[in-house]
Symmetry: C2
DNA sequence: GAGTGGTCTAGACCACGGT
DNA sequence: CCGTGGTCTAGACCACTCC
């Protein structure tokens, strides 16, 4: 007897949707039909479909069925990036770009009132303050300004920072990263942006502000990533 | 006997988390404890907790419990906006700003090859092409460039466009909006941006590109919303 | 080993869509 | 009216965390 688990069903259904197998009436088979085909419970089927919904491939309508959304080259790109986020792949600031990292600044400092307002770390907490430039295709494309709570993420070195701090956190410190909350905005370029980034004729940067939490619920990181305009692209799906 | 449904449980738990009632050990009660308290099945409890997870208020860890994430003024803002997206409230381009809408252009045209590449509408399809300026606090803050498939969304008039096209779609046409896929990016300002927006010293705009689908899975809209830098703010949560 | 959340099953009833 | 997905219950087993 072959084991067919929820994750397998998801993979199979996804493949069928992408290959256009369900395009005839723009519908998936009913849940009952899928239960029979895979010989599993309704729970497993619904879970697999929910995952497809989250990726923006299909949409469930009560009383009607599961509708397949039109696929075009333009929207496929968005689907792809969202599959990565909801799946295991992380496109975190630390590992999405591994071309070349240049450390522009590395200090250990104590949080003062002003830094508290920005980072939401408590006043008096020791933090690592790191500035790194990401070089992509011979362009300085991203400036990362990191603050790590040194009580939670201790003993960061410039060597670690020149690689992946997230790898260090996960593999060496055995700490679990739970959630990253982000805000995306556009800001007028500052002195430091002009110094480190190849802005060209542009006078603005994309700013991705991140607050990262571990599985104890504690915030261990505050980061600003300043992007040059060309490299700032984010995708999202709104469900109604 | 009082009915306690999943949605009520969510509301109650959320209130407790926000009021800091579960902050003592940074944990929620176990699922079994909540099942007893509310006298419902595990399904209902898990569904309510899942909603809190999606809003970034808590995080479930297998074998450990449901952890409450640290709340700071800076991150509360992000939580709020995500509660709206995942809930019913829509902050769609059409209705989040109702200060003042100025119609800059209104035409009905046929999709050619170039427009097809951009919008992913098929060549030959008739579309409404509309440009509208959103004025906020005496500033021209957003330029909306809409293309609606006229076969799916017929008979748009300048009068409708000066109000809310989404209201027209939902209330008058009785069409269901299923999904909106978006891409956020930064672009160098073009001639048309300078004409219609109060860019000030900035020479870039935030571009929110939207593809909207109805519950038949058909794309009925392509929109570019050009934001002046101050008004371009988006939030997101990444779960690991 | 005890306790926790994650997965899964089997079944019931409800709400909505289309005929 | 029938067929569909949405909600909910009751119970089982597994995987992980922590003592």
């Amino acid at each position: 007897m072959v084991e067919t688990t929820n994750s397998d069903i998801y993979t199979i259904l996804k493949e069928r949707v992408l290959s256009g197998q369900y395009n005839i009436k723009m519908r998936l088979p009913t849940e009952d039909a899928l239960i029979e085909e895979f010989n599993v419970s309704r729970y497993a089927i619904r879970k697999a479909i929910k995952q497809l919904v989250n990726e923006g491939l299909v949409y469930s309508v009560k009383g009607k069925g599961v509708v397949v959304l039109e696929q075009t080259p333009q929207t496929k790109e968005i689907n792809l990036s969202l599959a990565k986020i909801n799946g295991l792949q992380s496109l975190n600031s630390d590992q999405k770009i591994d071309r070349k990292t240049i450390i522009a600044d590395f200090q250990q400092i104590i949080v003062d009132e002003k830094l508290h307002q920005k980072t939401s770390f408590s006043v008096g907490v020791p933090v690592y303050a790191i500035k790194r430039v990401r070089r992509i295709n011979t362009k300085n494309a991203v400036l990362d300004i990191n603050y790590f709570n040194a009580q939670i993420v201790p003993e960061i070195t410039p060597e670690i920072a020149s690689g992946s701090i997230y790898d260090y956190i996960k593999k060496d410190l055995q700490m679990k990263i739970a959630v990253v909350k982000r805000q995306l905005r556009i800001e007028h370029a500052t002195q430091i942006d002009y110094e480190h980034l190849n802005l060209g004729i542009n006078n603005c940067v994309g700013n991705m502000v991140s607050f990262a939490f571990n599985d104890d619920g504690k915030q261990f990181e505050y980061t600003e990533s300043h992007f040059i305009p060309d490299n700032f692209i984010f995708n999202q799906i709104i469900k109604f």
